[in-house]
Symmetry: C2
Subunit: 346 residues, 2 copies
């Protein structure tokens, strides 16, 4: 069975378990996840035994060639077409997922009798399998290779943006569709801003270089960070780097199926706090990666999730000394039964 047709079947099984007759799916990320057709403008309705898609006329031919296992129809108003189909089949319990809807569309579904039911597609996205894992692995390898090739050219005078662009080019040359987010290249004090916007700042002798980057390959995002020193590192940089590296290693070691996500955060956080830098670790330890660069689960002090085999997450503690430098080290890892696979291993 086609990979996407299987996903639709998996969703239908979830609907049956939840005693839902049909689910409306409208956000492009989720419709592409179910069909492989990543185009805006169509809306799906999945019942326990059928799957429909409603779209403008100009998408129909393309949709049918990509997703022949879905019953596609063109229409003037996709929202009304969904409601008509629900009525035609007399579905009593039709639902939409509140976490993926826009306010206006969600209001429309609710006014037309649809229930709010969350988590169906999220639960399918949470555990990566088969082709998804292949794409994630490849996405991370492409990033690692680009980093290896860019390092020799990190010379005094280069701008942050030029490094970002070269990384993008290197990753695209290896088949990536593009960067998985606005790449964060921070030189010197810029490295102390966790979400720095790469700028025309030039690399000077003897300063920190933080590179947080990744690509989209086969639809899947990679995410990794390395921090070096350009020139002769100060004792303080070496100390901070060693603390972050050890905290990150301990965090990665804590990742395995059955462990609470917040324990991974606690492992990194405690290590950094014990080393005296607790107040400078000003963000969570990690997040899921997949179709989106930030997705479930989250790994921070408040996380309620338990890690499961097949989840892909980042482990990325950091220490940020404002106005001076910051160090963050990040890997994307795949959760396994007895540990994890580091996907961004150099």
């Amino acid at each position: 069975m086609n990979f996407y047709a299987k996903r639709v079947k998996d969703l239908q099984a979830l609907l049956k378990d939840a005693k839902i007759d049909a689910l409306v799916v409208a956000r492009p990320l989720e419709t592409a996840f179910l069909t492989g057709f990543s185009m805006d403008g169509y809306i799906m309705l999945i019942s326990r035994s059928d799957a429909w898609a409603f779209m403008p006329k100009m998408l129909l031919e393309q949709f049918n060639s990509k997703a022949p296992f879905i019953k596609a129809a063109s229409c003037d108003n996709t929202l009304e077409a969904v409601i008509s189909k629900i009525k035609e089949h007399k579905f009593k319990k039709a639902a939409f997922e509140p976490e993926t809807e826009t306010y206006l569309r969600g209001q429309f579904w609710a006014k037309n009798g649809c229930l709010e039911k969350k988590g169906f597609i999220a639960s399918l996205r949470l555990i990566k399998e088969g082709e998804e894992i292949t794409a994630l692995r490849r996405s991370c390898r492409v990033a690692v290779e680009a980093l290896r090739r860019i390092k020799p050219g990190l010379k005094t005078g280069r701008t942050e943006l030029s490094v970002a662009r070269e990384l993008e080019d290197l990753m695209q040359a290896k088949g990536a569709k593009g960067p998985s987010f606005n790449l964060i290249i921070g030189f010197g004090p810029d490295s102390a801003l966790p979400h720095h916007e790469s700028s025309e700042r030039k690399l000077k002798d003897n300063e920190a270089v933080l590179i947080d980057f990744g690509c989209v390959y086969g639809g899947y995002c990679s995410d990794m960070t390395r921090t070096f020193f350009h020139g002769r590192p100060t004792a303080e940089f070496l100390k901070v780097h060693a603390i972050v590296a050890a905290a990150q290693k301990a965090g990665v070691k804590a990742v395995k199926a059955g462990v609470k996500a917040r324990l991974v955060d606690k492992t990194c956080r405690d290590y950094i706090a014990d080393a005296g830098y607790g107040q400078y670790f000003i963000h969570g330890t990690g997040h899921g990666v997949g179709l989106e660069i930030h997705e479930a689960p989250t790994l921070n002090t408040k996380s309620e999730e338990t890690l499961k085999a097949g989840m892909a997450v980042t482990v990325e503690p950091g220490i940020y000394l404002s106005g001076r430098f910051g160090v963050r080290i990040e890997d994307s890892v795949l959760v396994k039964k007895n540990g994890c696979e580091i996907l961004t291993c150099e």
Copy 2:
């Protein structure tokens, strides 16, 4: 006054006119429009005389350096922080814009007494001025130059994706941040799919080449399409191309302030219908361009908008002969008092 500080003032004037005490702004596109700080994760509250932003601690330093004219504060829960501020100032009529909200966040604002009021920021975005026009012009120039440079290399055997990637590289080399959408390169029958996904298909002798592309420069999107024939054009291609070109030219000529958007659509549509190809023009004539590649106003048979000076729109009629070829010709234009400026003029 800073460009963004002026925008906030303009918004405050709109709030005063509408007798609204304060507006919640949460979507990244709109918060970046107001502050120049294009990072996810912060939420703004704009009153008639003040402007606040609430964010995680790790964004605060960066935010303050980019948008010092906003009162920024870090907090654990940005949504609750907004509501607290509304209560603290006893704003009776606080509102949110339903068209830019997610379902869950919109529900939260509504449950906490905020009113739905649409169109404030949309009306500011609709009319381009000053630096926005400069960025749009440059964005379109970069696209035009890339096209000029890619044409000599459109040879038999090249893939659609290789053309897309080279266009992206050429535009980035000229300062573009990236492509403004998934560039549509369609060879032969692929050109007959208006929203074709560029593929590994190789260019053959004697077939159509459709290139629909643009970039993001200074935050602003360009959008243009050209269709050629690789080899010796058939009589039918020449005929269809001439019809589309004439329809597009007539559409552009119809653009000026005070004209109904649907009249531009009707101009193109009537021309193509009179030439006998009405049923093959299967989409609207155009859309606004700006921070988003598709934004207000729309130019189709149902458009209610009247064009105003400072709007930027596309004019892009097409004829699609399924399984054979398609022709689309598109320019981005800036609406003027007595006509329009073609931004993507070759």
